[in-house]
């Protein structure tokens, strides 16, 4: 698997500081010439972004509507964390690495520094690495710099490309589905994203097609004082199947950078979408300085009967995480799943969970959430399970476990359960506990050192979630947790 370099490239810094608590290994900055929009947000900027992308007129009109709506909204503060106010006028809303020549072209026209940056991250964007089994769309700051395997996928009728390209080549499809799951009026950050989103992936699996390889997008924030506003739209037509992976990193900086993404998934009859995320944005240093503010709206809609959407997430980065991947179970017999591991260390604050909205008959949902808090971090699970009156015989099982490592962190659980149909069956259970001293002692007596013992126990704790991840992602997730936990236990 080509994921290998992920570990390899980061060997040197890792070895050196092995014991100095969870060093962030993707914290490098790549110096590239960038095409940078002026700071600030106004209609001109929205027009500029739309112009840069050569978007159709209706798209600009939609963006402007979203922008005007956003201006009427106020930032929400109900989540369980505190942060310094975000200066929305102090951000560059567009930053793109300069191409050697204008106009569409292959990867050779991308600044080699950018390609090298992705190589360091272990993301195969260059041609020779395209043999791997994963098709990748690599997003660098505001734009997509390369998408692999497009031709092979086209043979199946699968469209996998940057959303800005889709807007030019398949405007009808984008227009039909964009904003149909997360309307721009949905919330403050979704409105902001709708106005200024710059890139992201578009993925369309036609009727009856099982996508033969995993699709993946890798997001990289590079430029300073920018925000990343990506938009991902995945549509699985009748009987289609796709597994989609998402990864993210950013340089280490003292400033807080904003990441406000919107992801929309649409599954029609008998379709299945599996969406996996390993989120490893820079989380700030030990004292909580710097890091990404991750305010993300992710929502899937099981529009067809017997469809399935499954979210798997490993949240290990970001100074602040505000993220509730949701599934609207509209089609009868549809299934929603949510598997999550959220690890917080240093002074990270995570308020994450899911929403399962049952509307169709015999809809089922499963929620498995594992939270691990260490150092002085704050980890919150917040979830909603709603059974609407129309959801006959709906079924939900939820389980939220939290583990506390150290006595300065906190773990919170806020589940909301709303049942409006008597034929529903719901089970919810949650627990919070300390890492078991007896288990550590047992492993130590078998010759493991404390860190290895803790790592093994945490792995066991998260196993139910990791086994939902595609194999190479699972390996990466395990390594990521080990790295994050280093030095945080004593």
């Amino acid at each position: 698997m080509d994921k290998e370099p992920l570990e390899k490239t980061s060997q040197q810094p890792l070895e050196k500081d092995k014991l100095s608590s969870g060093e962030y290994k993707y914290g490098f900055y790549t110096s590239v010439d960038a095409d940078l929009a002026p700071k600030g947000l106004n209609e001109e900027i929205v027009r500029l972004i739309s112009g840069k992308k050569g978007e159709p007129g209706w798209m600009l009109a939609w963006r402007l509507k979203a922008f005007r709506h956003w201006q009427t909204m106020t930032e929400p503060h109900w989540a369980n964390f505190q942060y310094d106010p975000v200066d929305y006028q102090g951000i560059h809303y567009y930053s793109a690495p300069k191409k050697k020549a204008d106009g569409p072209g292959g990867l050779e026209e991308v600044d080699p520094e950018v390609v090298r940056a992705f190589d360091r991250l272990g993301i195969p964007v260059s041609e020779q690495k395209r043999l791997s089994g994963v098709a990748v769309d690599a997003v660098f700051d505001s734009i997509s710099v390369g998408t692999t395997h497009q031709n092979e996928l086209a043979k199946y009728g699968i469209i996998f490309c940057p959303i800005s390209e889709a807007l030019q080549k398949h405007p009808g499809l984008v227009k039909k589905y964009l904003g149909s799951v997360v309307p721009y009026t949905d919330n403050f950050f979704a409105a902001l994203n709708s106005a200024v989103f710059t890139d992201g992936s578009f993925c369309f699996i036609p009727k009856g097609v099982r996508c033969p390889i995993e699709l993946s997008t890798y997001f990289r924030i590079n430029a300073a004082q920018t925000g990343q506003f990506e938009r991902t739209l995945i549509i699985a037509e009748e009987g289609a199947y796709v597994s989609y992976l998402e990864g993210c990193t950013a340089p280490m900086r003292d400033e807080n950078q904003l990441h406000a993404a919107v992801v929309e998934l649409i599954a029609l009859d008998n379709a299945e979408i599996k969406y996996s995320t390993v989120q490893n944005w820079y989380s700030g240093d030990k004292d909580g300085k710097g890091g990404i503010y991750n305010f993300v709206t992710k929502r899937g809609q099981c529009r067809g009967n017997n469809s399935k959407i499954s979210w798997t997430q490993v949240e290990a980065g970001s100074a602040i995480t505000w993220k509730y991947p949701a599934v609207i179970l509209q089609g009868d017999d549809s299934t929603g799943e949510f598997y999550s591991v959220a690890l917080t260390n240093h002074r990270m604050q995570a308020d994450t969970g899911t929403k399962m909205i049952h509307a169709g008959k015999r809809t089922r949902s499963t929620i498995i959430s594992k939270g691990i808090s260490t150092d002085q971090s704050n980890n919150t699970y917040r979830g909603l399970v709603k059974i609407l009156p129309s959801a006959e015989q709906a079924r939900n099982f939820s389980r939220c476990d939290s583990m506390l490592v150290g006595n300065q962190c906190s773990a919170n659980t806020f589940p909301y359960i709303e049942v409006d149909n008597r034929s529903a069956t719901l089970e919810h259970e949650a627990s919070t506990s300390k890492i078991n001293a007896d288990q550590i002692f047992y492993l130590q007596s078998r010759g493991l050192d404390t860190e290895a013992a803790i790592s093994l126990i945490i792995n066991g704790f998260c196993k139910e979630v990791f086994q939902e991840l595609p194999m190479e992602f699972a390996v990466e997730a395990v390594k990521l947790l080990e790295l994050k936990l280093e030095g945080s236990v004593g």
């Binding site: 506390l404 006595n407 659980t413 909301y416 049942v419 069956t425 949650a430 919070t432």
Partner: protein
């Protein structure tokens, strides 16, 4: 204060008229408190569904309740309506229409040392020693209104080492022969070290009583090693609104348990806040809601573990018929110093009616690492296979359903029956029989 709807401010204005009637009543130490509580309540205003703690309960039906500010208490005839709960061996205080009787009961010899006193008879010194902390607690709107509108409160004091054998029964009745319809009974219980007592509170209405609003406030403080058990039966008429806030403070090694049965009132809300201030304190909170028609019950519990080695257990169950609705919002908060806390919470709901609704929101907020905390919630219906099995053994369908409903609630009732439990079953059994209909 931004005006929300005109009706809630109009309701507040109507309560203001009641306040005028009781403004100058009570001992000197209480008057400034009432004044301050009223001003705070007015500036705070009623909560709306935007407040997270009132997310699932809409108070607006309450605002259309006509408020009558008469001072009549219904006389001896009215007092009889709570008779079914009275037992001769109890120390019983009948609180009719929110007003204490002229004479408090004589304390029997076996409970010598126990003090029951009206606030109006409490001296300045007693107030400072025992009651002051409860009056300086931060209040929500309804406990503030209770202080402001209460005519006279009851102080129950259990001295050190005393084990009060008889049940202290506070029998609240809304009687027909009255024009008053806003009741604000207030009780403060203070238990000195190693004292023990059982308190039963019943709330019922006489048939034909006007629609009323009960806004009760109960404060309980448990000294070192003290043991208090609180049982509440709320069986008011369907027209009523009922809000009961109970605040419990537990010192070292104390043990508190409560059992709240909710069957009546179109809207009932139980706020129960327990603070485990001392080490090794134990808390057991139980709640059972048996609801019919369009009744709504809303339970808010907040268990605050401040000190180490505390244990808390919560078990709340509901059986819902018709279009009834139950809300459970349970909060467990574990302070950083509360190491080795064990805190559990379980909420189970059985849906019988076609249009009944459940909202449950168990919350854990944990700031200490060496703890064991868990919560669980289930919502489901009766298993048709179980009903079928019983039917196949010759049990009629309705009886089978009633049997299974009884099985569902049985774990809440311990095997050892006492006089308090008997009174619970007196209310519960007929309702379980009616579940199948």
């Amino acid at each position: 204060m931004p005006s929300k709807t005109s009706t809630d401010s109009q309701f507040m204005a109507r309560l203001g008229e009641i306040r005028k009637a009781s403004e100058t009543e009570g001992p000197a130490w209480l008057l400034p408190k009432k004044e301050a509580a009223w001003n705070a309540a007015v500036s705070k205003g009623f909560p709306t569904r935007k407040d997270d703690e009132w997310r699932y309960t809409d108070l607006s039906p309450l605002f259309s309740l006509p408020v009558v500010a008469s001072r009549a208490d219904g006389g001896p005839e009215g007092r009889k309506s709570g008779d079914k709960f009275l037992a001769p061996e109890d120390i019983a205080v009948v609180i009719a229409n929110g007003r204490l009787p002229e004479e408090l009961p004589v304390i029997p010899d076996e409970a010598k040392g126990l003090t029951l006193k009206k606030f109006s008879a409490v001296s300045e010194e007693e107030f400072r020693n025992w009651l002051a902390p409860d009056f300086s607690q931060p209040t929500d709107l309804f406990s503030g209104l209770n202080t402001a509108l209460n005519y006279d409160g009851l102080w129950i004091h259990v001295p050190a080492q005393l084990q009060v054998k008889p049940v202290i029964h506070l029998c609240h009745v809304a009687s027909e022969a009255t024009a008053v319809n806003v009741f604000c009974p207030r009780v403060i219980v203070t238990a000195e070290p190693r004292a023990e007592a059982r308190i039963l509170m019943t709330f019922s209405s006489a048939s034909g009583a006007a629609a009323s609003f009960t806004n009760a406030l109960t404060d309980i403080t448990l000294g070192f090693g003290a043991k208090i058990s609180l049982a509440v039966i709320q069986d008011e008429s369907h027209e009523n609104f009922y809000i009961h806030s109970a605040r419990v403070t537990q010192h070292k090694d104390s043990s508190f348990d409560s059992f709240i049965l909710t069957t009546g009132s179109r809207l009932s809300r139980n706020n129960l806040a327990v603070t485990l201030l001392g080490e090794r304190a134990e808390t057991l909170l139980k709640g059972l809601s048996l609801l019919q028609g369009d009744r709504r019950a809303d339970h808010l519990t907040a268990v605050n573990h401040i000190a180490a080695n505390g244990t808390s257990n919560q078990l709340y169950k509901g059986i819902l018929n018709g279009q009834s609705r139950v809300v459970f919002n349970g909060k467990i908060y574990v302070h950083p110093d509360a190491q080795q806390t064990n805190a559990y919470q379980l909420n189970k709901n059985l849906l019988m009616g076609d249009h009944c609704r459940v909202n449950t929101k168990p919350q854990l907020e944990i700031f200490a690492d060496d703890v064991k905390c868990s919560h669980g919630a289930t919502v489901g219906q009766m298993d048709p296979n179980e009903v079928f099995y019983l039917q196949s053994r010759g049990v009629p369908q309705k009886t089978a359903v009633a049997m299974l409903a009884k099985g569902f609630v049985d774990e809440m009732f311990p095997q050892a029956r006492d006089s308090v439990l008997e009174r619970f079953l007196l209310t519960v059994n007929p309702l379980l029989g009616a579940v199948a209909h």
